[in-house]
Amino acid sequence: MSDPVYTSKTNCLLNIRDLYIEGYQEEEWRQIVKGVSLHVNRGEVLGLIGESGAGKSTIGIATMGYTRAGCRIKSGSILFEGNELFGADDETLRKMRGPRISYVAQSAAASFNPAQKLTHQFVETAVQEGVMSFAEAEGRAKELFRRLDLPDPDKIGERYPHQVSGGQLQRCMVAMAMACNPDLIVFDEPTTALDVTTQIEVLGAIKEVIEAYGTAAIYISHDLAVVAQIADRIMVLRHGFEVETGETRQMIENPKEDYTRELLSVRKSRGETVDHESEEIVLEVKNVKAAYGNKVIVLDGVSTKIVRGETVSIVGESGSGKSTLARVITGLLPPIDGEVRFHGNSIQPMLKKRPKELLRRMQMIYQMPDTALNPKHKVKKILGRPLNFYFGMSGKERDLRILELLEMIELEPEYAERLPDELSGGEKQRVCIARALAAEPELIICDEVTSALDQLVAKGILKLLQKLQNELKVSYMFITHDLDTVKAISDHIVVMYQGKVVEQGQKTVILDPPYEPYTDLLLSSVPEMDPDWLNRVIEHRQKLADKGVNIRT
């Protein structure tokens, strides 16, 4: 275990002791962070890892003496270079933020002011605090933009945030955090919202730049494999407590606690799927072309099919057209060319014109279970609606069926009386699954159903979907950008890029070498539980680039 006593005093940049933070919820103060102690030495990167609700973000911003609305620091001590930040006056704290400690948020798109140019936001703190003149700060911006491999570093600052892509914007935010050359940067899940291929670029850029400037950092993530690439030490948090802390390599190779082992196993073990021999084609998409506003072509000649009882995964980065394909199949976006066939029959492109029976046979589960469930309806009512709508069930018959459905999704009968607010994220997604199952569909379209969930919870949901498929012979169309999910659940894989199918086929064919170049890029971008992975991949890509191979097709 690490204790600041063992490290030299002068080297210790941040030292947090027995930190308690409370949040005001349901008319009482509840503890979010329960007595956490940590320290960060100069030039050191500490990884904070845990599932949602572990308190890692709260600790992250508390290092800047800041708490979100409705939260407060109850007790403890936050020493930054020996100065106590807990209880310090607003002006002292404000002057500290920016020049000494800076912050990189999860979503750069939301955290940049949409109304101001990037350079203006970059120089703001430096100019206000008199660290640099505007011209000096602008020069520094260009230098950092270049260092972070942003395209056109001299001009990019003249753009507004919405004119820059997500991955680039995230790098701009890293640059902004470095503006005044701070001693400590808090990275709060800076790559979580990005595609795997973009994540690797941002991660590489962050690692490069903090090593170059010798900046200390706290790197917060729910993904142990990501943290392992960048952190010197890792602290695992759960429910506001520290689980364990240790050197990165020792943590990955030899974790002490069961919980850490569980987190580590998330990426490793995934169940094998059963072979299906059915050849009954449920859904067929033929040469579908779709566009938004008749201008921007988002799907270009996409064909695929789904066999009964099988899972087809549609994989690709954002903008690849995978969600649009789901919109075409469900009738939300009629295609401009091509057709969708269900059991061999061409179906109405418009949702409104489709018969009820067809609607019943195709169901959908969404990414955000929070918004997909009416918060004012009890589970009983949520599940009762499709039963009544499709089968005209009521009274006792319906109640019995609801209990059956709850049993299928492994929830106790008393959940029927609960409201969505009284369920956890995973339980809500289970209810969404049950609602889709209530219609007794043949095909369920799952749109990123696990990406809003913690890894361990997501694993449970995937297991459940697998079990239900074996029992009910339902087909899944699984839309995801997460290749681990794909490996775990699919029989068939469709890889999409810029509206086209790059390749498709049996899982074993796609995921075993030799790879198609774009599939290879996707696969090699998934972080591995190995602290050397990032360096290896970047080196490999550099070699390829030197040879003049362009990975992006």
Binding site: Y66, R94, S107, N113, Q128, H162
Partner: protein, 301 residues
């Protein structure tokens, strides 16, 4: 839009009780003279024909002639419109900067004594009827202290400053009435934006509070602010009727009131149409401005 309104104005004016011929000819009217008067003014034609004559004239830029004194309506309105716009502009120039500044200050010192004080005082201003505010100001500033004239008489040949001095009280009344609305909307729009992640980011960048309000929050809350400002501008032009009457100011509002009492229907119709046109144009302007206020639309990818 304006066409539908013209129909509604016409129907509304038609529905006014009383008869122009009877009220102009007065007690001495004989049935014969009333008949002749009506024929001369085409009042005997059915309403839809008269509507077509009227709207046809307006489309050709011809507002018609006043029934009461036979002068062309365009001449009658000309100077009046200028006066009304002068009053409205003066009130706007004073009230818009004050209310936006107050709104920003209130957002900055949210929940403080200052915030509550301006909230309460502007709210009480808005809750009094405008003529009441006008009379109170008159009693205080014209009778008690005699700083400003109680009657806002303007005439040809007055200098700009003399005019400003003359309309000080009506302008002040209008200002007090519109400030509350604009200031509260500005405050609400800014506070709404303060919950955004980029505001938290600005705090974590160590930006000063006042700068966060001015530089980060306000540009992103422009759309609702523009809307409420323009809506109040429209009110300043259209809603001045009572204030003009109280201060006997020769504007469009007073002309409207006079014409109604004289049953001078063409003038009433023309004034109403102008009010509606201003109202619609300003609302259109608000829509255009709020689109322009969105950086995503101003600077496409």
């Amino acid at each position: 839009m304006l066409f539908i309104i013209s129909v509604m104005i016409f129907i509304g004016v038609e529905a006014l009780p009383g008869d122009l011929a009877e009220s102009i000819l007065g007690q001495a009217a004989t049935p014969e003279s009333i008949d002749a008067f009506r024929r001369a003014l085409q009042l005997d034609l059915p309403p839809h024909i008269r509507y077509l004559y009227w709207i046809g004239g307006i489309l050709q830029g011809e507002l018609g002639t006043s029934l009461a004194n036979n002068r062309p309506i365009a001449d009658l309105l000309g100077a009046r419109i200028g006066n009304t716009f002068f009053l409205a502009t003066t009130a706007a120039v004073v009230s818009i900067p004050i209310s936006i500044a107050l709104g920003m200050l209130a957002a900055l010192y949210r929940e403080s004594f200052f915030d509550k004080f301006i909230s309460i005082s502007t709210l009480s201003m808005i809750s009094f009827p405008e003529f009441f505010v006008a009379y109170i100001l008159m009693v205080l500033l014209a009778v008690e202290f005699q700083i400003f004239p109680s009657l806002a008489t303007v005439s040809e040949g007055m200098t700009f400053l003399e005019r400003l001095y003359a309309i000080a009280l009506p302008a002040l009344t209008l200002t007090l009435i519109v400030i509350a609305h604009m200031m509260r909307m500005t405050r609400a729009a800014i506070i709404n934006v303060l919950a955004s992640p980029y505001i938290e980011m600005a705090h974590l960048k160590g930006i000063k509070k006042a700068r966060i309000i001015v530089y980060h929050a306000t540009p992103n809350s422009l759309s609702p602010i523009i809307n409420v400002v323009v809506l109040n501008l429209a009110y300043l032009v259209v809603g001045v009727v009572l204030v003009e009457v109280v201060f006997v100011y020769p504007g469009l509002g007073q002309l409207l009131v006079d014409s109604v009492s004289k049953r001078d229907l063409p003038v009433v119709q023309a004034s109403c149409l102008i009010f509606s046109a201003v109202y619609i144009l300003l609302n259109l302007l608000a829509d255009v401005l709020s689109i322009l206020a969105n950086p995503k639309l101003r600077h496409p990818k």
